[in-house]
């Protein structure tokens, strides 16, 4: 096979391969610098269950910043927009729960985030 024929096959295959990678690239960017979102959800849950509202608020803000500034911009090409919006909404609700010291509802919304996080690429 000469070079021209090889390129005719290799270029489209490489392009298709690259597209497939982009469309499924979320697994590469879900844990930037080892930041594990489900673990952070567990940490926030524990803080809330201990009624340590100040720590819970700090942890939630930290998770919100990492999600919005690092994770979402990178995974937005390969996940559902609605799931990201739902995570964002749940964070806002939890923030409200922390302010009103509503432990039950805060835990419910944390589980909600966990579910949406798992459904991001489904």
């Amino acid at each position: 096979m000469d070079m021209k024929k090889l390129l005719k096959v290799a270029v489209p295959v490489a392009v298709i391969g690259f597209f497939i990678l982009i469309m499924n690239s979320d697994f590469l960017f879900r844990e930037p610098d080892g930041y594990h979102v489900p673990s952070q959800i567990e940490n926030i849950t524990e803080s809330i269950l201990r009624s340590d509202w100040s720590t819970a608020d700090t942890q939630l803000n930290e998770m919100d910043t990492v999600l919005k500034e690092t994770i979402f911009p990178l995974i937005q090409f390969s996940v559902e927009k609605d799931e990201m919006i739902q995570i964002d909404l749940s964070i806002a609700r939890i923030r409200g729960c922390i302010q009103t010291r509503n432990r039950d509802l805060a835990v419910v919304y944390l589980q909600d985030i966990k579910s949406h996080w798992n459904n991001l690429n489904k």
Partner: protein
């Protein structure tokens, strides 16, 4: 999340995927569009469109849909090439709509093909009187092929026993003032020959020429940038 950015990336993905898939499917899609091919084209295009703009779902399922439809079309193409019977079943068969000058009403009814459609397609074949037609066949792609009665056929050079001159296919040598070196070489000519030929037509350089072709018998067609027309014909209203 930047929606415009996501749409742009997904647009690039669907555009080039469609381009590659269309190349894989080959020219059959364009040159022999049956009704089914037409629907296939629309569906594949629609899926590509969703891939670009439907941000409520991931790009991947849409892309898989695109791949599935393309693979199905490719499979049908392979089947229809290998098995003639399958080809008849999938693509349909040509149907005679006029035989020995008689219109086949029953066949047309079955095909849901109207007399108006037949007349229109006959006119497109430069047949303005159905009396001229001996045989008309409705092809798989909806086109009508017509065989005229001998008395209405055009006289050919063979009928008149005239000598013929085979001109062959014209080859482009200059386009937009630029010499196409590959074609020049293919026609066993060089730049010097081209410049000599141009000088014979009072042209000093290839840049003065918009379009130039040469036949296998060496006849040139030259269109210069300067057309020197007395008055240009206007066809607009």
């Amino acid at each position: 999340m930047n929606e415009a950015c996501v749409v742009a990336v997904r647009g690039v993905i669907s555009f080039f995927t469609l381009l590659i898939f269309a190349r894989i499917l080959g020219k059959q899609q364009i040159s022999q569009l049956t009704f089914f091919d037409y629907i296939l084209g629309i569906t594949i295009g629609s899926t590509a469109s969703s891939l670009t703009t439907d941000l409520t779902s991931r790009a991947w399922p849409h892309w898989v849909g695109l791949l599935t439809w393309t693979a199905a079309v490719l499979l049908l193409q392979v089947i229809t090439i290998k098995w003639r019977k399958a080809s008849k079943f999938i693509d349909g068969e040509p149907t005679i709509v006029i035989q020995e000058g008689k219109i086949m009403e029953e066949t047309m009814k079955k095909m849901q093909y109207r007399m108006d459609d037949l007349y229109e397609q006959l006119r497109q074949k430069e047949v303005f009187d159905v009396m001229e037609v001996k045989l008309a066949i409705l092809e798989k792609d909806g086109q009508v092929s017509v065989l005229k009665k001998p008395e209405f056929c055009q006289v050919t050079i063979q009928d008149l026993n005239l000598p013929t001159r085979d001109k062959g296919m014209a080859t482009e040598l200059i386009y937009s003032g630029i010499v196409i070196e590959e074609n020049l070489k293919q026609m066993n000519h060089d730049r010097k020959w081209l410049c000599d030929e141009l000088k014979k037509h009072n042209i000093n350089a290839p840049s003065e020429v918009f379009f130039l072709t040469v036949n296998s018998d060496g006849t040139l067609y030259i269109d210069k940038y300067a057309d020197h027309l007395q008055s240009a014909i206007r066809i607009d209203d």
